[in-house]
C-alpha cells in the first residue's frame, strides 16, 4: 500500500502508456498533474501560456511524439482554437481536464463537473473529441492508459476528464495489483507507395508519418483539405475528408467504450460519471441493503455518447443522473433539453453530491 493521489496514478499511467512529453502551464487544480508530469515524463516543457502549450504539443505530435498536458477551464478556453487545429490535422495528444467551479475563474480550489456541454461542442461543426472520464483510483490507471491508446490509434486529441476531488485527495492504494501498461505503438505508413496523409486507412484512420521523415512528403493542414492535405474550398473530396473525422471516431468507438453496468431487475437506473460515481456506488449499496432494487451505470467514455448507454437506459422507467453542475449537462446530452418523463437529476454546485442526496432522489416523491 502507498499513500497516493489520483494525479500520481494518472501521470504514471500516461508515461507508461507511451507519453513522450509533458507540456504544461500552471493552473489550479491541475497543478499536481503538471508537477508529476514534469518529474516523470521522458521530456517536459514549461510553456508561457496555454495557446503555446497546445501549439507546441501539436508540433511534437507532428514529429511522432505523444504529448500530454493538464489544464482546467480557463486554460482550456485558450486552447480551444488550437485543439480544433490538432483535431483537423489529426494529431494524437492527451489533454487532462481537471474541472473546477466556474463560471469564469470561479473557485479554483473547488471541484465541479461543469464543462461537459463545452467539450461536447468544442469542435466547430460539432465533431466529437473522444472524452474519457475517471471514476475511481483504478480508473486513474486504466482509463488514462486507454486514453493514450485512443489518441494514437484514432489519430486525434482526446480528453481525459476529471475534477479536483478525483485527482487531489490522498488515498491508501494498493499498487501491487495494478495491471501492466504497454506503450502504445504508432503504425507508420511503411510502403514505397506514395504517402497520402489523409487517405482513409484501416477503420477510416489515415496512416501516420511524422514530418521530417526522409521517405515521403507529409502535409498537415488545419483548414478544409483534400486527402493530400492541400487546402480546398468545399470540394467533394474535402467534404468527405471532414465527414470522415466524425466517422473514424464513431466507427471505432466500440473498441473504446468503457463503462460499468451494475444491473438489477429494477425500475430505476442511476447514471454517474467521475467524482459522483463513488457517491453513487455508496448510494446503490445502501439502497440495496434497504431492499430497494436499483441499477447503476458508470459512464467512462463520455463522448461521443456510446449507443450502449442509450440502449441501456431506455429499459428503465426512471433514470437519475447525478452530476456536479447546475443544469444537468450529461442529462441534457443524453435526453435533449426537453428531457423524458421519469428522468431526473441530482445536481449541486460548489460541493460534492452526497450518497444521501442520490438515495433521496431515488426513493423520494419523484418516484
Amino acid at each position: 500500500m502507498i499513500l497516493a493521489n489520483g494525479s500520481m496514478l494518472i501521470i504514471e499511467a500516461l508515461a507508461k502508456a507511451g507519453g513522450d512529453i509533458f507540456i504544461g502551464y500552471p493552473i489550479t487544480p491541475a497543478n499536481s498533474l503538471y508537477q508529476y508530469g514534469i518529474q516523470r515524463f521522458p521530456m517536459s516543457l514549461a510553456a508561457p501560456d496555454e495557446i503555446t502549450t497546445l501549439q507546441w504539443m501539436a508540433g511534437f505530435s507532428a514529429t511522432g511524439k505523444l504529448p500530454v498536458t493538464a489544464t482546467s477551464f480557463p486554460g482550456l478556453a485558450l486552447m480551444i482554437e488550437s485543439i480544433n487545429m490538432a483535431y483537423m490535422m489529426e494529431l494524437p495528444m492527451v489533454i487532462a481536464l481537471v474541472q473546477r467551479f466556474g463560471p469564469s475563474t470561479g473557485t479554483a480550489t473547488c471541484g465541479a463537473q461543469g464543462d461537459l456541454l463545452l467539450i461536447n461542442g468544442l469542435i466547430s461543426g460539432g465533431y466529437p473529441v473522444p472524452t474519457f472520464c475517471i471514476s475511481s483510483m483504478d480508473d486513474c490507471w486504466d482509463i488514462s492508459a486507454s486514453a493514450a491508446s485512443a489518441a494514437v490509434e484514432l489519430r486525434t486529441p482526446v480528453f481525459l476528464l476529471t475534477s479536483k476531488e478525483m485527482v487531489m485527495p490522498l488515498r491508501g492504494y494498493d499498487i501491487s495489483s495494478l495491471s501492466e501498461i504497454d506503450p502504445v505503438s504508432y503504425s507508420y505508413h511503411d510502403d514505397d507507395r506514395k504517402y497520402v496523409p489523409y487517405e482513409p486507412g484501416n477503420n477510416l484512420v489515415p496512416g501516420f508519418l511524422p514530418v521530417g521523415n526522409e521517405k515521403h512528403q507529409t502535409r498537415l493542414t488545419a483548414s478544409t483539405h483534400d486527402r493530400n492535405g492541400i487546402l480546398q474550398h468545399t470540394t467533394k473530396e474535402a467534404l468527405a475528408n471532414t465527414t470522415r473525422l466524425q466517422g473514424k471516431i464513431l466507427k471505432n468507438l466500440p473498441e473504446f467504450t468503457f463503462h460499468e453496468l451494475d444491473e438489477e431487475d429494477a425500475d430505476t437506473v442511476i447514471v454517474s460519471f467521475g467524482i459522483t460515481s463513488p457517491a453513487a456506488r455508496r448510494a446503490v449499496r445502501t439502497l440495496r441493503k434497504n431492499g430497494v432494487s436499483v441499477s447503476h451505470l458508470i459512464a467512462k467514455t463520455l463522448f461521443p455518447v456510446p449507443s450502449l448507454y442509450i440502449d441501456t437506459i431506455r429499459n428503465y422507467r426512471r433514470v437519475v443522473v447525478a452530476e456536479e453542475n447546475q443544469n444537468g449537462q450529461f442529462r441534457q446530452i443524453l435526453f435533449g433539453v426537453s428531457g423524458r418523463e421519469g428522468v431526473t437529476g441530482v445536481n449541486t454546485i460548489g460541493r460534492m453530491i452526497t450518497p444521501e442526496e442520490i438515495i433521496e432522489e431515488v426513493t423520494g416523491d419523484g418516484r
Partner: protein
C-alpha cells in the same frame, strides 16, 4: 530552376506581390545550401503568404493565424535534429497576434528560421492595419494614416537573444540572406519588407516602400548575428517511476475501528496541518484501514486557513466527502472560521479546540487544551492528533509515532513533548 523544392507552376498571389519573391528566394537559398526537400519542414499559417504551401515539395504544415512560430517550435524540438530545417512563413498580422510566440522562440533560441512577410497590413482580410503598420501608413482601418508606430520586431528579437535577425527589402535576389539565416544555429529572423499592390499601393499611391521604411525609422540592416546554441529539450534516459519514491507502507499495527470514522483538522497555513494529517493517513494504512485525506485551503495556499478532511474505515471508502464529521480539531482562529458552519451544525461528536480560542456554539462535546502553548505554532496540529488518539485510539498511537519516525522530520519535533499528556 527545376521543381525540386517549389512547383514551377504559377504561384497563388496577386500580380506584383512580394510574396512571389519570398517563395522563389527560399527555393534558391535551399538549392544553394543543398538541402534535401524532405529535410525541410515549412510551417505556414493564415494570411496570403500561407497558401503557398501546396506549391512546396518539402514537408508542409499549415496552421492557425499567428501560431506558426509556436507550432514550428514544437516541431523543431520534437525533431531535435540539426540536419533538418524548420522554416516558418508568417505575415505581419500573424506576427502581431502571435507576438508572444516570436519572443519566446527568439529568447529560447529554438532552431528555426522565421520569415516575416511584412507588407504592413492584413492582405487576406481586406487591408486592415496590423501591429507592424508604421505611423502614417494608410490602410482600410486607418484611412488617415495609422496614428502610432509599429513594432520593430528585428530589434525585439535581437533584444531577447535571437541568433540572427535581419530586415531586408523584399525586391530582387535576396537568397543569400535567406541562406545565411537557414545556416544559422538557433533562431533566425528575416523580416522582408513588402508593399501589397492590392491594398498598400492603393491606399498610399504616392509613397515608395523605401521612403515608408525610412520614415518609420526601420533600419534595413543586420540586427543580430551571434553564435548561440539552439535550445534542446532535455531527454531523461531512465525516467523514474513516481511510485519509486513513495514508501510502501506495511501493515504493522491493528485498529479496533468497526465503522467509518471522519475527522477534520483545521488550523492556519504554515501550521503543519497537511503534514500532520498525511502522517495520520500513513498510520491508518499501517493499521490496516482504508483512508482518504483531502486538503482544503484558499487559492493563495500560504495564507489563511489550512484544513484537512480525514476518513478512515475498515471497509473500502467510496465517498470522500465529509459532511458530518465525528471529530473536529481546531488549532487556530483561521481554522475555526473555516469550520464554523460545520461545528455549529454538529449535534453530537467531539470538538477539540485550542484553549486560547473562544468556543463556538455547537452540539458536540467540547474538549479544550493548550496545543499552541505546549507545542508551539508549528507542532500544534500534530500534537492535537496525538492528543485525540491518546483519548480514543481509532488507530494506535504507536502507528502515528512510527509514521512520524519514518517521515524524516522526526528530528525536528520533540516526541516526548508530543506525547506528554500521557503522564497527565
Amino acid at each position: 530552376m527545376g521543381d525540386k523544392y517549389l512547383s514551377t507552376s504559377e504561384l497563388p498571389f496577386c500580380k506584383g506581390c512580394g510574396h512571389h519573391l519570398v517563395a522563389r528566394n527560399t527555393e534558391k537559398a535551399l538549392e544553394a545550401i543543398g538541402l534535401n526537400p524532405l529535410d525541410v519542414i515549412l510551417v505556414t499559417d493564415i494570411g496570403c503568404h500561407g497558401i503557398i504551401d501546396r506549391k512546396f515539395h518539402t514537408h508542409t504544415v499549415h496552421g492557425l493565424h499567428g501560431r506558426s512560430v509556436a507550432l514550428a517550435a514544437g516541431i523543431t524540438l520534437g525533431l531535435n535534429n540539426p540536419s533538418k530545417k524548420v522554416i516558418v512563413y508568417i505575415g505581419d498580422g500573424g506576427a502581431t497576434i502571435g507576438l508572444q510566440h516570436l519572443i519566446e522562440a527568439a529568447h529560447r533560441n529554438f532552431d528555426m528560421t522565421v520569415i516575416i512577410h511584412n507588407n504592413m497590413l492584413y492582405g487576406m482580410t481586406g487591408g486592415q492595419a496590423s501591429g507592424l503598420t508604421p505611423c502614417g501608413f494608410k490602410t482600410t482601418t486607418s484611412p488617415e494614416g495609422k496614428p502610432y508606430s509599429g513594432y520593430d520586431l528585428c530589434r525585439k528579437a535581437n533584444n531577447v537573444g535571437a541568433s540572427y535577425a535581419r530586415r531586408i527589402i523584399g525586391t530582387g535576389d535576396y537568397s543569400g540572406h535567406l541562406a545565411e539565416a537557414f545556416e544559422t544555429e538557433g533562431f533566425s529572423l528575416l523580416e522582408v519588407m513588402e508593399i501589397c499592390p492590392s491594398y498598400g499601393v492603393k491606399f498610399n499611391p504616392d509613397r515608395k516602400l523605401t521612403e515608408i521604411i525610412e520614415q518609420a525609422d526601420l533600419k534595413v540592416k543586420l540586427y543580430s548575428n551571434q553564435i548561440r546554441k539552439r535550445y534542446q529539450v532535455h531527454l531523461r534516459d531512465n525516467p523514474i517511476s513516481l511510485f519509486k519514491e513513495k514508501n510502501e507502507i506495511e501493515i504493522e499495527f491493528h485498529s479496533e475501528l468497526k465503522d467509518t470514522f471522519s475527522l477534520i483538522l483545521s488550523g492556519s497555513a504554515g501550521g503543519g496541518v497537511q503534514l500532520a494529517t498525511e502522517l495520520f493517513a500513513q498510520a491508518a494504512i499501517a493499521s490496516g484501514l482504508d483512508v482518504s485525506k483531502k486538503g482544503n485551503y484558499p487559492v493563495t495556499v500560504g495564507t489563511g486557513f489550512s484544513s484537512s478532511d480525514i476518513i478512515v474505515s475498515p471497509d473500502p471508502i467510496l465517498f470522500t466527502g465529509v459532511k458530518d464529521p465525528d471529530v473536529v480539531i481546531i488549532v487556530s482562529k483561521d481554522g475555526l472560521e473555516h469550520c464554523r458552519a460545520v461545528i455549529e451544525r454538529m449535534k453530537n461528536g467531539l470538538l477539540i479546540i485550542d484553549e486560547n480560542i473562544d468556543t463556538p456554539i455547537t452540539g458536540a462535546e467540547v474538549l479544550k487544551h493548550d496545543f499552541h502553548g505546549i507545542a508551539g505554532a508549528r507542532s500544534a496540529a500534530l500534537y492535537a492528533l496525538f492528543f485525540y488518539l491518546h483519548r480514543n485510539p481509532v488507530i494506535p498511537v504507536d502507528a502515528l509515532v512510527s509514521a512520524l519516525g519514518k517521515s524524516g522530520i522526526s528530528d525536528k519535533v520533540d516526541l516526548d513533548m508530543l506525547l506528554n499528556f500521557k503522564i497527565e
